[in-house]
Amino acid sequence: MELPKTHEILEKLAAAIRAELTEDMVIVGIHTGGAWLARELHRTLGLSSPLGTLDISFYRDDFERIGLHPEVKPSDIPFDVDGSDILLVDDVLFTGRTVRAAINELFDYGRPARVRLAVLVDRGGRELPIEAGFTGIRLDLDEHRMIDLLRNEIGELELKLRPETGV
């Protein structure tokens, strides 16, 4: 499968958000890919509002099975969540479990007025009733096929489909 260029997907996502941009909207990216994407969108949209990041390790629903993620990063929410208009950003929307955890974590900082979701890729395969308000591209991937957002040395983002593994 040939993916479109990552910067084209990014531009499409940014355009969709720009059409519904509000003055007091703040962006929160989910570690790690979502945080990169959030920074990129923040810059592309020319926002001056604060930019937050969430590490959802303490809110995962698979802690019992796989334990603590080996590289937990601090969450950083540099604004008052009460009454805020939040755009939650992640790179790939799959089962919806990461977004569920992120929303739970956000509510431990306060009660936002609204939370919307933007993702670069919606790859299907949802296990929870969660949908994105803004999507860069929709892909119908087999559930074992992996897609990653990578960042090179000069900070450029690139979507990569992992090669199919022989069954």
């Binding site: 590490d55 390790s57 303490f58 809110y59 802690f63 796989i66 334990g67 603590l68 080996p70 590289e71 937990v72 990063k73 601090p74 969450s75 950083d76 969540v81 739970n104 974590e105 509510f107 431990d108 900082y109 306060g110």
Partner: protein, 316 residues
Amino acid sequence: MQNNRQINKSGELQHLLTIEGLPVSMLHHILDTAESFVGVTEREVKKVPLLRGKAIFNLFFEPSTRTRTTFEIAAKRLSADVINLNISASSQSKGETLLDTVNNLSAMHADMFIVRHAQSGAAHLIARHVAPEIHVINAGDGRHAHPTQALLDMYTIRHFKRDFHELRVAIIGDVMHSRVARSQIHALTTLGVPEVRVIAPKTLLPKGVEHLGVHAYHDMSKGLKDVDVLLMLRLQNERMQGALLPSAQEYFKYYGLTPEKLALARPDAIVMHPGPMNRGIEIDSSVADGPQSVILPQVTFGIAVRMAVMSILAGS
């Protein structure tokens, strides 16, 4: 004592019994995880749901207010149920053995035991005895180890000094009877601190302490020169009763940390103390409350470090 018992076959931390033998990567993993928990404790809701439904027993066979409280707060901030047992006052006085107590609590579906005991090796004994899904944290055993205290000290040093590799650290006071000092020495040398000193009168330094990789001093004016971090130890009052020390006044004169003695260390040196402090015996009030003291940040970081240890254990 078997230290490898605390690491399981997959290389994960199963129990935290001692710092000795833990790989440097594990120490950094604990400190990094703690850093994320510091942010949690500054939020409006100071809790995460990580250990929801877990039962954590604080088994304190020896009195301790601060350590027990910080473990209790840490467990509650992880959403665990925490049960405090001061055993010196109950079963043991009725003759129940340590392992009987543990068996009874295991039958109540305990997930984790936090153990403080006057006997060295008590936490190891419990760790050997419990079922594999139960985790044990040593909260101080006799003169042997107090690993979470050493870890919170390392967190505090890293917070204020960033890099362990260029530091001179002095541990000052009753090294002989101190489980804190032993754990600190193992942690500091594992993390790559090039120069660890111990400063104490001859009667309060264990023989052969140099074999742990430290330099021994008996004179504060020599020992404190160019030091970056001062780790004060609590002088236990009962030491005065034996022949180890002439008097508290005499001890303060030679080893009490006064502004004059602190001036011998580097101007940006930090002063730490595990508490509770004996003001006017091992430390002067003007130092304890002074600008170089980081004794209260130690307490705050201690909660995040204990949250990190508990969540790493519960997830292994």
